[in-house]
Subunit: 367 residues, 2 copies
């Protein structure tokens, strides 16, 4: 194998492929990325057995072939090269020579024979969505997945298409995050559970353009994201997702309109007094036109008041401040609406067209 690549383009490709290189593994071959030069195309391939990535890079092909090289070392060497044109040559003993004309590296590479190449995916059902939107809906829901592997389904997110609306849901038993996105085209209904880790890794490589599309292909077991020169394949989580419709209510006894930033900062300050081991709630007292936050912990006490517009009853209700902070941080609206029924029932933070709904369970507290 022998190719000549531009340093920056090569690095961009390596950075994408690195997302499917596992941090720790007992299978040394998974720490490698494959450089596959075939039919006039140079591909970088990585696979941690949950996620697999193939990305095409530009370059001059002098000789085709395929090789597996330790991914992090390869990345570091390319990154530190001083000149722009990088020649990569692999001999019959899998010694890889990397040179920019000035620095010459020889490292031991491997045959790619043992590498778990990505399975072929039949591209049937698919949707198209902008990279920006996909990255945003992940950011706006990923915080409320669970990391408890015993409830595997909660470690992923529901992606459901119904009547040309993409609904993304995550929940951890204390809260539910929902985002609804109107799709531009018509699609058949479909539903799948995508692992949280997949969503976190793909967010890192989506460049975020509003004009740049991602095509998502679904099969029973896999989802394939295709964008620019890259395909990103992930296993799905098997099983049926929770029926969330019956948990969502539109009844309320108290409705408030509040400045999001002010509320977020008040709660953020309140958390200063809570040590991690304590599970102290922030207590919110809503009366006419005001909302008072207070907290009482071993460290001390705090209270502060902000203005709100209220409809309905007064209420005194306690929350895990973390849950409120997580939801408020990902809402872009300046003013938000919060709906409550009583101090035992879930509260809802949502907008009028329900493009977002955050359900949070309150916690008990002693007055």
């Amino acid at each position: 194998m022998n190719i000549v690549c531009n340093k920056q383009k090569l690095l961009d490709g390596i950075n994408i492929a690195l997302k499917a290189i596992p941090g720790k593994t007992t299978m040394a071959i998974l720490e490698c990325m494959v450089i596959e030069v075939k039919e006039g195309i140079i591909k970088l391939i990585s696979n941690d057995l949950e996620i697999g990535i193939e990305t095409i890079i530009e370059g001059d092909i002098k000789e085709e072939g395929s090789v597996a090289v330790e991914a992090k070392l390869f990345f570091e060497i390319i990154r530190k090269m001083s000149l722009d044109e990088i020649n990569i040559q692999v001999n019959e003993n899998y010694v890889m020579n990397i040179s920019d004309g000035k620095s010459k590296f020889n490292i031991a590479a491997k045959s790619s024979e043992e590498f778990p190449f990505l399975p072929p995916i039949v591209k049937n059902e698919s949707i198209s969505i902008s990279q920006f939107t996909l990255r945003e809906i992940i950011r706006q829901t990923i915080f409320s997945i669970s990391d408890n592997e015993n409830t595997k389904i909660m470690t992923g997110e529901l992606f459901e298409i119904k009547e040309n609306v993409l609904k993304v849901v995550s929940l951890d038993g204390h809260r539910i995050s929902i985002r609804n996105v109107q799709l531009k085209n018509s699609y058949p209904d479909v539903s799948m559970i995508i692992p949280g880790k997949t969503l976190m890794e793909i967010s890192k490589i989506l460049n975020g353009g509003l004009e740049d599309e991602v095509i998502m292909y679904f099969t029973d077991k896999h989802v394939l994201f295709e964008f620019e020169n890259t395909i990103f394949l992930s296993r799905l989580i098997e099983g049926e997702y929770y029926k969330i419709e019956k948990m969502i209510s539109s009844d309320y006894e108290t409705k408030i309109l509040v400045n999001k930033k002010e509320m977020l900062e008040s709660i953020d300050r309140a958390t200063l007094l809570i040590k991690e081991s304590e599970k102290k709630p922030v207590i919110i007292d809503i009366t006419d036109e005001s909302m008072t936050f207070s907290i009482n912990s071993q460290t001390g006490s705090m209270n502060e008041q902000i203005e709100v517009t209220k409809e309905g009853k007064d209420i005194l209700i306690g929350f895990n401040p973390r849950f409120l902070i997580d939801a408020l941080r990902v809402i872009d609206d300046e003013e938000i609406k919060i709906y409550m029924i009583n101090p035992k029932a879930p509260c809802f933070i949502k907008n009028d067209d329900e493009s977002y709904i955050y359900l949070i369970l309150p916690v008990n507290f002693k007055v």
Copy 2:
């Protein structure tokens, strides 16, 4: 006690005092900073028993008094306040009320009675130096102290004044770093060993101005740095420093002139192939007009050549690449001069007026 302070000015003071708050300690009082309001002055005081800091902050004094408050919590609360005018009031039970008019915090503070206040220092001998220069000479030498507490003297740096030159020296048994600074005024000769930790912490709070002076006062046991509104007191390391004069030679058999950045980048690339557990040297082959770096490790091999101007003999010599990198990084000159005698004798990187001298021992290697 009752004071009203501007948020930012208070934070600036707290940030300085935090440098003498220990990370871990069994003495809870050391995790506190004292706010002492006395004779019309507001002071923040901290002391980890190696370093003690007093810094004066501006503010309106409503009532004098003194209190010890958990430093990191106090910092976090002030930092997150939303308004600029902060009122701090402590009652007779040492409950501290912190308020900006909107947020009201009550936290448990302590009497400052048990706090180890800084000992009084007789201000006799002193030198004056710019904050910029002090910060620079620390940065340019601190990397070659030892962290081995068994050779306590090596964990500090020699500060020696002789004939109005300040010489700063650090060494770790494999290398010596020396910086010489011509002082503007006349001073008596003096010599002391300042702990490395002291130097690292003070570097962090020196604002770096060329026009802003630091006065250093010396006693047998202490050094006191005085600048702006702050005094920074540190114990000295007791004992006599190594006689370095006899280790410094001006003989050489090979002298080269080389571009610093090019040499640094070449060595940096070579280290990619060395795992931490390996102690592989970078081998430098100097012949007429060129310097070739090569490395051979379990991971692979690398070599590259750069141009140099050489006087004297050819030489093949091996170094711990880390030691070369550390020295090259802190030299500001574009072109540097390196002097070598033979592959067993120390090499010297120094400039003509010897404002810096870096001595590095070579290592043995197999060809």
